[in-house]
Amino acid sequence: MEENFAIDVRGMTKRFGERTVVNDIALQVRAGEIYGFLGPNGSGKTTFIRMLCGLLRADAGSGTVLGFDVIAESEAIKRQVGYMTQRFSFWEDLSIAENLDFVARMYDVKNRAQAVRRSIEQLGLAGRQRQLAGQLSGGWKQRLALAACLIHQPKLLLLDEPTAGVDPKARRDFWEQIHQLAGEGLTFLITTHYMDEAERCHRLAYISYGNLLTHGTVAEVIVHVRLTTWSVRGPGLLGLAAQLRQQPGVQQAVAFGNALHVSGDDAAALEAAIAPFRQAPFEWQRIASGLEDAFIHLMEQSQDNFAPAVAAEPLKK
């Protein structure tokens, strides 16, 4: 192995009955990296993560997680991986301290009492350790879940939408902590729907209906999508957007504050499409595509490809 990969898997596939939920996905995550895993709801992100930590048996696939065989050595993987579920999954009728103590016991943590105390202090939960987990707010639950995932000092953390339902301040604190831990050598695989969070990751992968559509750094992903974007300012943008959407070559016309972002993957066609509107009172400017433009483009493209098979279409009136 030339490079030190925390996750290095190929061909990961999972079927539920007739439905292929994860289709032949390969993923390489370097040690110490924060890897963002994006995709619409139901795209197979959770299923993929569950396969990595042995919660689901893969139908096909091979590779290693932390140097252990992803299929055959899931028990060994479990000991060194922390998995934070999408929904809060600690015991709501146990207190913060009791939850941490239980998790520490399950992982046979040495100097358990000390580890629990340290974990409570580090996360600033000291004043609340006797509070029942069920009474905590979303932000505190998330802190507790993270503390519990870290108590056995894992080398890899799998976080499934860790910041869903958490306020912006708590989210920022959370990401600061993630970066600090990554600096200490921990590897992260994080699923998210938030663009600002995606941009905080070292590298990204985009998955839709079980297929990996693109991966790389933020810049690489944007380049890979080959999207051209124009920004337009002026009065009556709403009406303009509606008109533009009718034009061939325009794939997106989305309001961003006082401007409208118009994008398409064929630069020439797009330019032809907007030509009639390039006059006063509108001010046009060609801009670099953002990550969100790129992802929405990917999402719509993949919907086109899969629409007949999956109920992804918006409800018809």
Partner: protein, 383 residues
């Protein structure tokens, strides 16, 4: 090539961790905890004090058309037998029928005109007893006692010249020894039986709930993502409830002794050892159910699916030998059936180990089969 999974070893420390967690959760879950103690107390009160399979003091009406002393003597004798309470006097048969139809009396006793005169003449006059026999259990015993009650009642009147009216003695000298419960006290049968019934209900339900709850709340996913072995989880969940089971056994034994004065002829330590096997059988069944049930509601429904037939076919409520052969065969499959024989045998008959063993192995077999199915079906993945 099938790669060999390296399973971590069974860890007593992890097991202890799960037991501690279960106890903490049990302590917090006041409602369930109260139910565990409340159910035995409630059932003891209901079955122990309220239910009587030997009903007495049944309301009766009398249609007395004859004023002679013999008629009255018979009525007093019936009243003294404690089966009948004469609460009404009616003048016509229609009136009597009406009371029966409305359910206000259980019996109407009709002593016809000239009863005393005909009796003394040796004409064998009739007494009509009409009974509301809708529920055979309510009237059967009282009616069965009538012959003996009436036969003995007039013995004092038929002396000297009337001696010929006394029934001739039976050629057989019948002697009945009602063993183990000579006074036919229902509670002596019901209260020990309750121990089995209560353990069946609460033990199946509680383990079923304990595991489906983890799944319903999403904590199972968390538990499975840790290096915990299935055996640790299952045993860790069983042990606290064994303790609960013993608390219930204790409550019932104390109540049986102090409240109902149930005789305890056999060895209580033996009973406690046997109870462990029975508790384990029910807990194992609860675990198997929890691997099938998708949520707590289903686990609850499955519990009652087993609980009802076992309470009906085990011999707890209705005599086991009175059921048709097929029902007895079905009944033999329930651990409760065997445990009832054991607990009644030990307490009332003073049965020892050899008698108990005969009924114990089916329970042990049942426990082993259920636990095997449960552990096999307990999945370590979310598939």
């Amino acid at each position: 090539m099938k790669p060999r999974q390296r399973h971590p070893k069974f860890s007593p420390r992890r097991l202890w961790g799960i037991i501690v967690k279960e106890f903490t959760q049990m302590r917090r879950d006041r409602l369930t905890f109260a139910m565990m103690l409340g159910i035995p107390l409630l059932q003891l009160t209901l079955f122990g004090f309220a239910i009587n399979s030997d009903p007495r003091h049944l309301p009766a009406a009398v249609l007395l058309a004859d004023q002679g002393p013999q008629g009255r003597t018979l009525l007093y004798a019936m009243q003294n037998s404690t089966f009948f309470d004469f609460t009404r006097q009616v003048r016509t048969e229609v009136e009597g029928r009406d009371l029966l139809a409305r359910g206000q009396v259980q019996f109407v006793v009709n002593i016809p005109e000239n009863f005393s005169r005909d009796l003394l003449r040796g004409d064998r006059p009739a007494i009509l007893v009409e009974a509301d026999a809708t529920d055979p259990a309510a009237t059967g015993i009282a009616l069965g006692s009538l012959n003996a009650v009436l036969g003995g009642a007039l013995r004092n009147d038929f002396k000297g010249p009337l001696d010929f009216l006394n029934a001739t003695a039976s050629p057989i000298d019948l002697r009945v020894h009602a063993l183990y419960n000579p006074e036919s006290i229902t509670q002596f049968n019901i209260v020990p039986g309750l121990m089995g019934v209560i353990l069946t209900m609460t033990m199946i339900m509680i383990t079923g709930l304990a595991i489906t709850r983890e799944r319903e709340r999403g904590t199972m996913e968390n538990l499975l993502s840790m290096p915990t072995r299935p055996s640790e989880v299952l045993i860790g969940k069983i042990v606290p409830y064994i303790l609960i089971g013993y608390i219930q056994v204790g409550v019932i034994l104390v109540a049986a002794r102090l409240l109902f004065h149930v005789p305890m002829h056999g060895s209580i330590p033996l009973l406690l050892v046997v109870a462990l096997v029975f508790i384990a059988a029910n807990l194992a069944m609860g675990i198997t159910f929890s691997t099938i049930a998708k949520n707590q509601l289903q686990a609850m429904q499955m519990t009652f699916f087993v609980f009802l037939p076992s309470i009906l076919l085990s011999g707890f409520m209705f005599p086991f030998r009175g059921m048709p052969r097929w029902a007895q065969t079905v009944g033999e499959f329930f651990p409760l059936t065997h445990f009832l024989r054991i607990v009644r045998g030990i307490l009332l008959k003073g049965n020892g180990l050899p008698d108990v063993t005969r009924e114990l192995w089916p329970i042990a077999l049942f426990a082993a089969v259920m636990l095997t199915i449960g552990v096999k079906r307990y999945r370590q993945t979310l598939d």
